[in-house]
């Protein structure tokens, strides 16, 4: 495969996936610092479940374990899902989410490279439609919580369901959830923004984590693991749509900055929408795919019944990817521009 001058770059799936995991570390570190070690528990649990389900399905499909388990792709799905789920949720929530992600969305479609939908987002979507109560109880940042949760407390809460500390002592509604329910009760946005769960630009605590995802995403970009098209178009889609909506009705819709730094937008823009398997592959296609996903995210947040729309937006655009790719094939050098004919080779 490699032509002269025989560079020794190792671009295997395993190294690419490993670099994605590394790029997530700043966000995870910020999460531990601001919210306590709960995220470590969910990362460990999700990784263990992911490797477990992957092994089971590989055995059932009679595929060799070593090459598929060591490509790190299950770990990436596990970490992305763990970072999208509330920490300190019951252990079975993580098990079901990872089970749906790995078994149904990945292996039943034929494994890595054959999956139509991003596995982590399928897991997330299944959980939020099935268990909305658990999915909207997020631990509050340490500065706002009545109790600091240590690592062993976290294990206790995750496995026993309740632990010795009442859930009300450490959870609060998320910013997007609060925004959605409050503006529908005609609370003025200024009153809302003065509440303690709001920080400088987004949700207190989560805005810093989002900033760290942005930093990790830029590392991926400089490391040439992703191109600029998808993150930029996704963020622009979110910002432009939110800006237009805010101009139309500032009492109902949040500012573009708040949209960018809350919920799953930063994680989605750099780590989820850029999934090489389920994203569009042509340069123009990437722009269309990601801008539409950003647009849909804000539309679902503003008018849908769920607080965040990143997962649904990305899944909806995953469906359009074959179509987008077909219509945006670049002109081959030396050939005239041809009209694209969908469905023809």
């Amino acid at each position: 495969m490699i032509g002269s001058p025989y560079t020794l770059a190792s671009n295997s799936t395993a190294t690419i996936m490993f670099k994605v995991l590394l790029a997530l570390l700043p966000g995870i570190a910020a999460h531990v610092w601001l919210f306590g070690p709960g995220i470590v528990v969910s990362l460990i649990l999700c990784s263990a479940f992911a490797i477990g389900f992957e092994t089971l399905l590989l055995l059932a499909r009679r595929l060799p374990l070593q090459p598929f388990l060591s490509d790190n792709s299950a770990l990436v799905s596990a970490w992305l899902l763990a970072l999208s789920l509330p920490t300190l949720a019951p252990w079975w929530l993580y098990a079901i989410g990872i089970g749906i992600a790995i078994v149904i969305a990945k292996q039943l479609y034929g494994g890595l490279g054959q999956n139509l939908f991003n596995p982590a987002m399928v897991g997330y979507a299944a959980l939020i439609v099935s268990f909305p109560v658990y999915m909207t109880q997020w631990p509050a940042p340490i500065v706002l919580a009545d109790h600091a949760i240590g690592l062993w407390d976290a294990f206790d809460i995750v496995f026993s369901g309740q632990g010795s500390i009442s859930a009300d002592a450490y959870t609060s509604a998320t910013l997007l959830d609060t925004w959605k329910t409050q503006v529908r009760l005609n609370t003025a946005p200024e009153v809302l923004l003065a509440q303690p769960i709001f920080g400088w630009i987004g949700a207190r605590g989560h805005e810093i984590v989002a900033l760290m995802y942005l930093a990790g995403g830029l590392l991926l970009f400089w490391g040439k693991r992703i191109t600029w098209h998808i993150p930029l178009a996704f963020l622009a889609g979110v910002a432009l749509t939110a800006g237009v909506l805010q101009l139309i009705d500032p009492t109902q819709h949040a500012s573009p900055l708040l949209h960018l730094f809350s919920g799953g937008v930063m994680l989605g823009a750099f780590f989820i929408a850029t999934d090489p398997v389920t994203a569009a592959t042509t340069p123009r296609g990437k722009l269309i795919y990601a801008a539409m996903a950003g647009f849909l995210t804000v539309i679902i947040r503003g008018f849908g019944s769920f607080p965040d729309g990143v997962a649904f937006a990305i899944l909806l655009m995953n469906m359009c990817v074959p179509f987008i790719d077909d219509y945006t094939q670049p002109r081959v050098f030396g050939h005239p521009r041809k009209r694209s004919k969908a469905g023809q080779p």
Partner: protein, 232 residues
């Protein structure tokens, strides 16, 4: 007036009485229940399969209603098949089916009103269920009355069986019970017949929602293919 196609329909051989039933009768039964099962092989009649199979009671009631309509429709069409002009046979079949569905709908409204409300639009929709028309067109319009009724009944039972298995899977996973809502069909005496599988079950809403039907059906088809692979 009978069309060339109708006259070319296979002539029924006299049943050679070999065993308990003729080979043809056995084929019809096996086809309906397994080889050509409407639910997991022909994939016909998916509208009720996906919409109403969220618990056993709904699945069984709609499945039986469909089976009844199929049996009577196929029998009626087989009886009059030589009098229906070939060119307008489909509208004629649909009229017969629609009339029967109306009878079933009114009967359910009269005797099981609670169930009638739960099943709602899916009772009149039996008219448009393609498995009913498919058996009438593919089988009853060409074969003897007795065989047509047997074929429609077996196809109906095959569909009902898939509906019930899917309904049981979705209900057990989604609500943690079996036979919930049985009192809607059998009256208030049956209220205690609901089987709770796990106490304090949170419910898994996805199984009850339409995606659960698609995933469940996919798993059933996979299971059938797996069994066939093992046989081969």
């Amino acid at each position: 007036m009978s069309s060339p196609e109708a006259t070319l329909a296979p002539v029924q051989p006299a049943a050679p009485s070999g065993g308990l039933m003729s080979r043809e009768t056995r084929d019809i039964i096996v086809n309906g229940l397994w080889t050509q099962n409407p639910g997991i092989v022909q994939l016909l009649g998916l509208c009720p399969l996906l919409a109403i199979s969220n618990n056993i009671v709904n699945a069984l009631s709609l499945g039986l209603a469909t089976t009844l309509v199929m049996a009577v429709a196929s029998g009626s069409v087989a009886l009059v098949r030589n009098f229906i002009p070939h060119e307008i046979r489909i509208p004629a079949f649909v009229l017969i089916i629609a009339a029967l569905v109306t009878v079933v709908e009114l009967a359910m409204h009269a005797w099981v009103p609670a169930l009638y409300i739960v099943l709602g639009v899916f009772i009149p929709l039996i008219t448009t269920n393609c498995i009913v028309l498919a058996r009438v067109e593919a089988f009853a319009s060409k074969r003897s009355t007795a065989h047509s009724i047997l074929d429609a009944t077996m196809m109906g039972i095959g569909l009902t069986a898939v509906l019930v298995v899917l309904g049981a899977m979705r209900e057990a996973l989604g609500k943690g019970t079996l036979f919930s809502g049985v009192d809607l069909a059998l009256g208030p005496i049956a209220k205690d017949w609901v089987i709770p599988l796990a106490p304090d079950y949170n419910g898994f809403l996805l199984a009850v929602l339409p995606p659960g039907a698609f995933i469940g059906l996919g798993l059933l088809i996979a299971l059938r293919n797996r069994l066939l692979m093992r046989e081969a």
